[in-house]
């Protein structure tokens, strides 16, 4: 803690650098783009969840005045999108879900585009659909992709460690349950929007909210069968991402092809209804889980099987077991693990990445089971967790090398703030309509990058100009989380200037160096280390020149508060700007600029899913106090406590803001949010009927930041951006169970679900 004082920028709550632009309405989101001659694009969606396309007739639509381009599968290259290359941007022979793209139009305004869509005639031959993954797995189920037998996605994640069967036999207590979790949505406030513009030389500029500009550039080049050097990706202000822009989706390809055909720029913006129906969602899972323990609470084994509804195509949704597995294998110490999955194609919309990437699902299941196990053992749920708590320098069954670990402190802090001892077992003894309970849950997540690609790297360029003004050009992307500010703080700290002196450039693939993308809570850690390294190189150059001017050796100099001075004689200062100007205006002058590429010292998991994928791991605990109305089933969260091992808080205000925002997503997951999908159709595609939390649904939150000063992190920091969401539903679920003395095995715990369980319990008692 004491070393905090020596920092000028680290640990300071600097307001977000782009906040004024956003507060004044000047920020430009993709939907705000207005290019000369710009057209409006619209997509025609399938009318059937599963059907052959017999004919698409666009003759009439093409004749409508104002229509500049109409495209179908015939206008598309034969290439397909997605991790399994199974998703043609426009469907030519077959549709597999109601959100399938069949044709698209670009016109002078949205009205004309809509009218044109109505004039496109499509002839389908409906095929029998299947919507339930367990039905889809059965023999004789409708086949969605010819090459995927039994509708099984070829991606398969299985992990085994120790001897599960022997451990089961040796357990004193074994519990087994099935959990069901729903489809949920990112609910970015800005509907998805992108713009495509071709120049006369055949270069394509995309204005895209993508989280992965360079992978996007590569994938778009592949699908359009053109060199990626001819694609420039500009990322305007992004109105929410949360994993929803982690892949290249058909809408962006369609936008590009429309613009090419029309010879004019095209803006394609989803309506809110399209946003709900057509963008990939967090996937529903069915989890069968069995866990055991010795009488003293030592965990013996975990045996889990997850069935994932992948929907009709393969985006990142199918790969979430990669992370989901982490909570099963590595949250609390357990030496015998079996993990298996079935990822099943259905005629539902397809699934994607969302904050936490499977970890909210995995953590919910594991942490609910920890409470159930504790109950069966007759042990306190906190004690059970402390007994099996992760520790510094531990290696988990998957081979994760834990460096720093503040989990024990997190658990103890939350318990203390919840008044655990007094409140934990009070609820069930209460009588009356309202029952109270407390619960807690923890998480483990990557905190030092995540090597999911061969590179987990990020480039940075730091430039210092003649008045000491600093520019950081980072490969990373700003999606609202505040990374640009945190990176400015890190850069400024290294250089001895103020964060306010730093301009961050992060929005243009033609300028910025390569980066994998903004995901896996990696940007502060990875882009932060890259920025720090580049800044250190520039600093060395500045010191070299200053050394000449001050006539002191470089290692005797220090930079602080925008000035260089000898450590021994801090009064003898020289402004950084002056040093730089001296270097500019002289014979054989120099510019002050350096680059760095930080790729963390981690390894990819092998085919058995073992490997240390992150430099460090994040830990944290959330606690909930709830009140349940046993007549209506309504759950009110009275209070939440978050204790997080953050390594080091570079910007405490923005860090808290990440945790608070993540928490609200978790509260929604726990109690309110569910896409109602029937026969492949989303029945609640609006903010009125999809219940994301309003301000009145948010409980008071207490946050305790636990700083473990991670040796690998920039100034000790760990990544935390997803963590606020991960354990929330489990903590609330455990609190509800504590209040009612019964267990719920599904989310969300909407009033109707809770009431049904309460009534079933009462009926049993009578």
């Amino acid at each position: 803690m004491s070393d905090k004082k020596k920092y000028t920028n680290i640990g300071r709550s600097v307001p977000k650098l782009d906040a004024v632009e956003k507060a004044t309405g000047k920020a430009v989101y993709p939907q705000d783009t207005n290019l000369p001659g710009m057209l409006y694009g619209k997509i025609l969606w399938s009318k059937h969840p599963h059907a052959e396309i017999l004919k698409v007739d666009t003759t009439e639509a093409q004749k409508l005045p104002g229509v500049k381009a109409v495209i179908t599968a015939k206008d598309m290259p034969p290439t397909k999108l997605g991790f399994a290359q199974d998703n043609p941007p426009l469907k030519g022979d077959k549709v597999r879900s109601l959100r399938d793209e069949v044709a698209a139009v670009a016109a002078v305004d949205e009205d004309t585009a809509e009218k044109a869509l109505e004039m496109i005639k499509v002839k389908y031959k409906p095929l029998p659909p299947v919507f339930d993954p367990e039905e889809a797995m059965k023999e004789g189920a409708p086949q969605i992709h010819a090459e995927a037998k039994g509708n099984r996605n070829k991606l398969h994640y299985a992990f085994e460690y120790g001897d599960v069967d022997a451990a089961r036999a040796a357990s004193d207590v074994v519990v087994k349950h099935r959990f069901k979790l729903p489809w949920v949505k990112h609910c970015c406030l800005a509907p998805y929007s992108c713009v495509a513009r071709w120049d006369e030389s055949g270069k394509l500029t995309m204005y895209s909210p993508t989280q992965i500009p360079f992978l996007y550039q590569r994938d778009l080049a592949n699908i359009l069968q053109m060199p990626s050097s001819k694609i420039r990706v500009i990322q305007p202000t992004i109105g929410g991402a949360f994993g929803s822009k982690l892949d290249l989706y058909p809408n962006e390809v369609i936008c590009a092809v429309l613009a090419k055909k029309a010879g004019q720029p095209v803006l394609l913006t989803y309506t809110r209804e399209e946003e709900f129906k057509c963008t990939p969602s967090r996937q529903p899972v069915i989890a069968d889980i069995e866990m055991g323990a010795k009488k003293d609470g030592t965990l013996t084994f975990r045996d889990v099987f997850f069935i994932l509804d992948n929907g009709a195509y393969t985006s990142w949704g199918a790969t979430i077991p990669y992370v989901l597995m982490n909570s099963v294998t590595s949250l609390y110490k357990c030496q015998n693990i079996r993990f298996d999955t079935a990822i099943i194609y259905t005629n539902n919309m397809y699934s994607g990445a969302m904050r936490g990437y499977g970890n909210p699902q995995g953590t919910f299941v594991v942490e609910r089971m920890m409470d159930i196990l504790a109950e069966k053992l007759g042990l306190d749920a906190l004690e059970l967790r402390l007994k099996n708590c992760n520790q510094p320098n531990e290696v988990t069954p998957q081979g994760f090398k834990v460096t720093t670990c503040g989990l024990r402190e997190c658990l103890e802090t939350v318990a203390q703030r919840l008044d655990w001892k007094n409140k934990r077992n009070k609820g069930q003894k209460e009588t009356g309509t309202l029952r109270r309970g407390v619960g807690l849950a923890s998480y483990i997540h990557v905190g030092g990058g995540a090597r999911v690609y061969r590179s987990d790297g990020c480039g940075a360029i730091v430039k210092v100009d003649d008045f000491g003004h600093v520019t950081l050009i980072t490969g990373s992307t700003e999606i609202g989380t505040g990374t640009e500010t945190v990176l400015a703080q890190i850069t400024a700290e290294e250089l001895g200037v103020h964060a306010e002196d730093v301009t961050v450039v992060n929005d243009d693939s033609a300028i910025k160096p390569w980066d994998v993308g903004i995901h896996a809570s990696r940007t502060t850690f990875i882009a932060g280390n890259a920025a720090r390294e580049a800044a250190a190189k520039v600093k060395a150059e500045i010191l070299k020149t200053a050394s000449e001017l001050l006539e002191e050796p470089e290692n005797k100099l220090e930079i602080n508060d925008r000035k260089v001075y000898p450590k021994k004689n801090p009064e003898k200062t020289l402004e950084i700007g002056k040093v730089i100007r001296k270097a500019h205006f002289r014979q054989h002058g120099q510019a002050f600029m350096a680059e760095a590429f930080y790729d963390p010292p981690t390894e990819m998991e092998d085919e058995d899913y073992r490997g240390n994928i992150s430099v460090t791991y994040g830990f944290g605990t959330q606690g909930a106090e709830v009140e349940v109305d046993t007549e209506t089933g309504q759950v009110r969260v009275l209070k939440m406590v978050i204790a997080n091992d953050v390594g080091r808080a570079i910007n405490p205000m923005l860090l808290e803001a990440q945790l608070e925002g993540g928490l609200s997503m978790g509260v929604g997951y726990a109690l309110l949010e569910k896409l109602v999908v029937e026969k492949g159709e989303v029945l609640n595609p609006s903010f009125l009927d999809y219940k994301m939390p309003t301000v009145k649904d948010m409980p008071p939150v207490e946050i305790v930041l636990i700083e473990t000063d991670d040796p690998g992190g920039p100034y000790g920091a760990k990544g935390i951006a997803e963590s606020g969401t991960i354990p929330t539903a489990a903590a609330i679920g455990n609190a509800v169970a504590n209040a009612l003395g019964l267990h719920l095995f599904e989310l969300p715990m909407q009033p109707e679900v809770v009431l049904k369980a309460v009534k079933a319990k009462l009926a049993k008692r009578d």
């Binding site: 507060a23 705000d32 406030l189 609202g480 997503m665």
Partner: protein, 155 residues
């Protein structure tokens, strides 16, 4: 379809425009007047992102036909700062970390403005009432409430 002429005052500037009856106020502001600080999150009055002040009242500009605004005085987020100085609410949102992706921000600030001007004495619960028609996915609302409270209490 016949266009209607309307005169309105936006951010203290007079405009004469011709619009189709079905054009909503949010589309007029964004597409005709270039005031893209008014964000369109849903188009059906369920998110609050497009909130503007119309004759001093915060309204969802997607729930108002442009023709209804004939003769009206409109303030959008672009009209709040004056002479290079941010409105106290804008400043508080910046300083308190109440902004992340920023898409809900203009609506949040304008509804808070309306609420604070009409209700001099507010309790904690009232700040929440003020913004309960404005959805935010990034912040969990904590710092937004804090920012509004800061202005209300004249800190």
């Amino acid at each position: 379809m016949m266009k209607h002429r309307l005169n309105l005052r936006v951010n203290k500037q007079d405009f004469e425009v011709f619009v189709k009856p079905k054009t909503t106020l949010v589309d007029l502001l964004r597409d005709e007047l270039g005031l893209t600080g008014t964000n369109k999150g849903c188009g059906t009055g369920e998110c609050g992102a497009c909130t503007v002040l119309m004759n001093g009242n915060a309204v969802n500009s997607c729930l108002v036909l442009a023709v209804e605004a004939d003769g009206a005085e409109i303030t959008t987020i672009e009209g709040l700062a004056s002479e290079g100085r941010l409105d106290p609410l804008q400043q508080a949102f910046v300083d308190e970390g109440a902004i992340q992706c920023g898409f809900c921000t203009p609506g949040m600030i304008l509804v808070a403005k309306d609420f604070l001007e009409k209700n001099p004495q507010l309790r904690e619960e009232d700040y929440k009432t003020a913004i309960s028609g404005n959805l935010c996915r990034c912040t969990g609302y904590v710092k937004i409430v804090k920012a509004i409270k800061k202005v209300a209490e004249g800190e």
